[in-house]
Symmetry: C2
Subunit: 217 residues, 2 copies
DNA sequence: ACTTGACTAGAATATGATTCTAAAATAAAA
DNA sequence: TTTTATTTTAGAATCATATTCTAGTCAAGT
């Protein structure tokens, strides 16, 4: 009955080739500095082929974004599902994020340096959907932790800002080569600091702080 | 002697008109979605005139960015020059940033939603210079505070991430209409949290925390 | 008044995104 | 296998828009 599904074998492959060719250029030079000709020559696909798979350059950019953000979010959500304690949870999230950036530099450059780019917001409601679902899971985790008295009772948007903000800012510095502190130390420092800014009563829970850091800078 | 400055009267005015026309569009729709024709018609300047004052669209975008960031940075630096205590300093910076965003929404949309955009990094070394100078002042302030024992001894890039990150992340939410918490409360929450993540020994310095927040969210 | 260089105007050009037409490849039907 | 329908690819044609070019206008100094 589903005779309408006459998918060709190599089609997905070709689409993926285009996405990855685009990623390379977008990540290295940004979307606006990348021409369709660049993508065409790197992917060895024709104009027609590209426009068959993607509605426009903007749409291609969005699909590349989606492909990356899906992988990233899946990783974070797996962590939160593991139901560790609050402090471990925070550390795990920070570590995951920074290591992911370190190991997927090309993706990270595109995803996070262009995070606020305009083409995302307007078009592509799937991005909105992904973000909403993601936020929902994250806030559920938070609520659970808060009920156990691990976190203080902060508004969700503030909590998100406090956690995500430092990670993103360090990421930005790291990607632009301006970070002095290495990733491992950054994970330790940031998660430690976050814990103290989020938890109900930092000192009584753990007597020590500043687990490690050399005398740099 | 300065005969080379055969400035025409209205020239600066015209240039400024172009910048502000561009700002409106850039802020509302982003640089790539704005055409030179848009800017031309809003500023009532001709193509030739625009290209006389600015090398290219990219350069125009950079100059708009510069104009905004200068004002913003000047405000922050004034605060840091006032040599208040560490905690007051943090609060003042957070408050300044968020109120500035609230009062200069148009500028903020452009400056901060496009902060990581590519055209800034590559071209326009004046932006680099501004940022370097700014960072230098900020780090000097930090070093002074740290010597007085107010802050713990964190690497500069980490400190910057911890402070700037939450402000920027909240800003992003605020500008995209996703913030739940109001600006005043956000200032209180964020600066309180920052203090606990940065200071040497939060509890002994001030016994209380969470100065204010309603039971929202 | 005249010369000079900054400034403005708008047409011409160039670059690059998108559309269009047709053909090749593939899968399903006969 | 041959036929038919559908998807996918190709590349030329088109269209949108950023930039350049040529010719002027204007303000100030001589």
């Amino acid at each position: 009955m589903n005779r309408r599904k006459g998918r060709h074998a190599g089609s997905e492959v070709r689409k993926s080739e285009i996405i990855h060719a685009a990623l390379e250029h977008f990540s290295a030079s940004g979307v606006s500095q990348t021409s369709m000709a660049d993508i065409r020559s790197r992917s060895r696909a024709s104009t027609g082929s590209i426009y068959h798979h993607f509605k426009s350059k903007e749409n291609l950019a969005a699909e590349v974004f989606l492909e990356g953000i899906r992988v990233y979010q899946k990783g974070i959500l797996r962590l939160l599902g593991e139901e560790t304690g609050a402090r471990e949870g925070i550390h795990a999230v920070v570590a995951f994020h920074l290591k992911w950036v370190q190991e997927h530099t090309t993706w990270a450059r595109y995803l996070f340096q262009h995070r606020y780019a305009s083409f995302m917001a307007s078009t592509e409601e799937e991005i909105t959907r992904l973000n909403r679902d993601f936020l929902q899971h994250v806030s559920a985790w938070f609520e659970r932790q808060r009920r156990q008295g691990s976190f203080r009772d902060l508004p969700l948007d503030i909590s998100v800002s406090l956690i995500l903000g430092p990670c993103m800012e360090y990421t930005r510095q790291y990607l632009s080569g301006q970070a002095i502190t290495g990733v491992d130390q950054a994970i330790a420092e940031i998660s430690d600091a976050l814990w103290h800014s989020l938890c109900e009563d930092p000192v009584s829970v753990t007597g020590h702080r500043a687990l490690s850091h050399g005398g740099d800078r």
